[in-house]
Amino acid sequence: MRPIQFELNGQEVDLKLPPRTTLLTALRDHLGMYGVKHGCETGECGACTVLLDDHPVNACVMLAAQVEGREVRTIEAVGEHPQQGWRRTEGLDPIQVAFVETGAIQCGYCTPAMILTARSLLERESTPNEMDVREALSGVLCRCTGYLKPVQAVLRAAARMRGEAVDPIGEGLILPEDFHPVSSQNLRGDDWAGGEPDLVTRTRVMPRMELATKSETWRSVGRPLPKVDAVKLVQGKPAFTSDIEMRGMLVAKVLHSPVAHARIKRIDVSKARSIPGVAAVLTWEDIPRVIYSTAGQSDPIPGPLDSFSLDSKVRFVGDRVAFVAAESEAIAIEALEAIEVDFETLPSILDPAEAMTDGAQIIHDETEYVHFADSDPSRNLAAQIHIDIGDVENGFQEADHIIEGTYEVPKVQQAHIEPHVVVTYWDEDDRLVIRTSTQVPFHVRRQLSPVLNLPPKRIRVIKPRIGGGFGGKQEVLLEDVAAHLTIATGRPVRFEYTREEEFFASRSRHPMRIQMKTGVNEDGTITANEMRVLSDTGAYGCHALTVTGNTGHKAMALYVGDGPYRESPNIRFYADVVYTNTPPSGAYRGYGVPQGFWPVERHMERIARQLDLDPIEFRLKNALRAGEMQPFSTAWSEGREPRPETINTCGLVDCARQGAAAIGWSKKFNNPTWREIPGKPHLKRGVGVAFAMHGTAIPYLDMGGASIKMNDDGSFNLLVGATDLGTGSDTVLAQQAAEVLGVPIEDIIVYSSDTDFTPFDKGAYASSTTYISGAAVTGAAQKVAARIQDRAARLLSSEGEKIDPLTIKLADRSAWAPDGRSVTLTEVALNALHHEDQEQIMGVDSFVSPVSPPPFAAQFAEVVVDVETGQILVEKLVMAVDSGVIVNPLTASGQIEGGMTQALGYAVCEEMRYDQEGRPRETDFGDYHIFAAHEMPVLETIFVETVEPSHPFGVKAVAEIPMDGVAPAVGNAVLDACGADVAVAPATPERVWMALRTTSSDQN
């Protein structure tokens, strides 16, 4: 042990620590500074930022001993909640205030780090410019926000700290009368009424919005309100899974397979078990052999059951071999190293094209395998889809042109900054508590029940705050490991992935190879469209069917053709989803749809160019419209019975026009003069477009529940099973409740989620929460409102004329009679709980939708290409989105900005590759580069509102659609710039360079 003294947040600290202890471990595990987060072990993500002698540093790459005699500041020293009872406080720091009001916080995991770096900057520089701020934030990776709002927040805070006024939040809202009249003939017009985006001060935070006509009485829905969880997150409160101490808690580790495919001939854990401090070592021989799926989905799982907690066979480098629980991480690692394993290596399949060839090694030969639909493990086939809509062959025969193309999309990582993490323990009733960072708490409970041999009623799943998920936490990935070890030891167990484990042993986006074939008439009418997909699910078939099904269900549904083909489109979608000996694919924001829109939108661009058609007009001519049938709705529904769905709303025409105006399309597209950069002949500018369509929940399946309880003071507890993974869903749900109940959002106390006392919700996926859970919340609020109206009518009638409860309006924390008399909700609550005919006013409701109303979008990109090296610089991304009514413009635009940023990585830099032994190339954020604050293009979001009639507030989804269009828009912009037609994403410099050479040789 080494004595260490330093100053922490103004207090002297005296510790005795093992000298290998990092500063991060010292601060979190020994000093309870949970605002310092773990995101990686190599200093690349910056979640562990602290101020060391006023300078931001990463605590994970410093030893605690290095800060001897120095001053350390953490977020715990910055600001506090402005209301501390009778004690007067300074409240939040100005930077924290700015982060709250601008919507700069999504999951909040990196927020303390950003605030500390901003504070360090502003302590040294009171008048930073935008680049100074971006540079200051450069060491903190954020996967949620796209950095725009954090930059705006710091600039606003700086201005305030200088005593300057800043624009009120809400400034910049573009009203309908400001928009130029929209007509399909005017799509090329650039006369945008709103002018150029505010790029100078960056303090205006509202997105541009074309507002739909809706109720003028709304006080909550549609407003840019601060997030309900923002105040705790800017303070770095211990809200996340790992921010918990428990007496006797063990640390879990997993021994991962070093080989891609093998049987375990012998495993000897005796030495590991004998190490002092090791509490348990488990192998496949120690736990029940129960087959299940790790995909967090509704019952029955729409995919094969092909996984075991531990097996006698390993199927990828990183697969599980053994579990260890020990008194410390160091001991657990020592135990892993002491486990002896003899592998009988088997031939491995790393190329999906080889998976179904004759004589290919079978990856799943276990007898327990449970099929779903057309899965066939004897052919390494996890799922197969054959969909024919209309008469595709006839459509090809009727076409003037047949245009074909082959495309490819990579495997990519969700890269949420909070790793997968879980804590398990037995409670006082001997019920197993699983505290986990999950998007699907109810699925975790149901799916782990047989694996653990515990009935669901003896499992309680608590979902604390989630530090980002993006689909990665729609997987039941770690929970069983900790649970088995708690069962084995009787003790609490914490298991948290390292960043390296995230890369080689979690889930990722399915890589696909896609062939497109399209029949088109001379006038641009699509007569038939075909997509054939080879999808690589990796070693296990989690989400195999449903992800790949969505590739066709959304991307191939957008273009139905025109004229008679609009009535009866001809569409084919065939897919083979195959097993390989690579880490499993799974759910990742977009869920198969980004894989579909890369080929579809690159292909549409090729067609438009080949036929000399305007790319926007060509797309709109063939795109789905309101009132038409979603063509796949009669063909496929995530492995369940399909039912016809009509598109109620479609703002695509307006999206195209507004997006085109914002990017300056008519002045730039195919313009050789604009393309040139004076004095730099090797650089060429280009502009590109892609359309996108997504879904909103799974019809007839996805269900959300909500309960609302009224308190003495007229406030309400809103309990939802929905899981806010940083998206702001708790906030938009509260806004919908507040709207119905006539109270400000701060009177709605949101809790999510706990399987013991929040209603069921299928979880956060399929872009469903605002729509599905929101409708449930609205229903529950309406039931509560009815009880309030009834009691208020009685109270008001007692003083005069009898009042019909149905005429009572709820607003401004009161119930109002038509004659202007009112009672406060506090009076109603006290009356109900204490005074007469006492009752608990509460409401419970749930919602399932018969439709999945699609959001639509037009995505634009502007790039500069270095034609001698293939390097791309993306300078600007504009996305115009129809997501129905926008409940909260701040959280919704944050979704678009963050989504575009993730999708930008998909476009230009992110991919996971493996060597000939199946070992990953990318194991950290150095090689797997995600965009940082100081290298971002300009981002602009435009909302084109429509009112979706299937939802009480007219909403549609916003979360996933920004993933869909960026990559093809960038690809199309590269094509516009220099003629390089890149078929394989991401468009790396070498791929662009190769495409340029191909183009050049074609021209020769």
């Binding site: 290998r20 930022t49 990463n58 090296t869 293939g870 410099p989």
Partner: protein, 260 residues
């Protein structure tokens, strides 16, 4: 896991014996992630090895200068060198990572190392004071039990210094990068030193070119040498054909800038 020893000596005299068995710790950003593989470390933070000074034509940078210190050093060092510190790492890391640690741990994808190569940096070492070229240091640093301590980096200030890189995003690690230093010789002669990075264990130094060659010939030779240097530079991130071609392009561009 073996016992671990952490020392923070207060002087070089105290440090040098410890370095016979201990690993030097600069900022720790490269070493801490591998700390479980290390048994003994010597924290150099109290040895007064920081500071940047100019002596005549020489710029002397202490090995414990952090990348952020270097970036914030006023005009006394080339702007390009300051800028590549920003390219090397983000602010949080720059505040801790030392130049010595960076040079000892970086690979061919390091912008700072690539620029240092072009600057023909000399490295002062102790014990038994010795000065090595950076290239020699990079070859020796991988040897086991090489118990030497870098105290200073020294280079002759160039007339001009250039750096460029090709990467997937603006701040990503380079796939190919190049640095070029121009120095005036006696009379009107120029000497041109180009280094290439983005690949391998360390950047490659091209032969030095003198400005007495005709401009076109120099350009052809530099491009050709760059292409040849990366003709086998294939790894998971790029093919040799691509790197070779782009190396020639970048070298040619820098030369064009230098000779403007």
């Amino acid at each position: 896991m073996s016992d671990f020893k952490y020392y923070r000596p207060q002087s070089l005299d105290e440090a040098l014996p410890l370095l016979k068995s201990g690993r030097p710790l600069g900022g720790g950003t490269a070493l801490t992630p591998r700390i479980s593989q290390v048994d003994e470390i010597v924290d150099l933070s109290e040895l007064n090895l920081g500071g940047v000074r100019i002596e005549g034509d020489s710029t002397i940078i202490g090995s414990m200068v952090t990348l952020q210190d270097l970036l914030e050093t006023p005009e006394s060092i080339p702007t390009t060198l300051r800028n590549v510190c920003r390219q090397e790492a983000a602010w949080n890391i720059r505040n801790v990572a030392t130049l010595g640690g960076t040079i000892m741990s970086a690979d061919g994808r390091s912008p700072v190392l690539t620029v240092f190569q072009a600057l023909e940096v000399q490295v002062n070492l102790v014990p038994d004071p010795e000065t090595l070229s950076l290239g020699e240091l990079l070859k020796r640093r991988i040897k086991p039990n090489w118990h030497r301590l870098i105290t200073e980096f020294v280079f002759q200030s160039p007339d001009r210094l250039f750096y460029t890189q090709i990467s997937r995003t603006p701040m990503d690690r380079p796939i190919v990068c190049a640095a070029l230093a121009v120095r005036s010789g006696s009379g009107q002669d120029l000497s041109i030193q180009v280094s290439l990075g983005g690949f391998g264990p360390y950047p490659i130094l091209l032969p030095k070119y003198n400005g007495d060659l005709p401009l076109e010939k120099t350009s052809v030779e530099v491009k050709s040498a760059a292409q040849e240097a990366f003709s086998q530079a294939e790894d998971d991130f790029a093919s040799a054909a691509y790197r070779s071609n782009v190396a020639g392009v970048l070298a040619g561009r820098l030369l064009g800038e230098a000779l403007k």
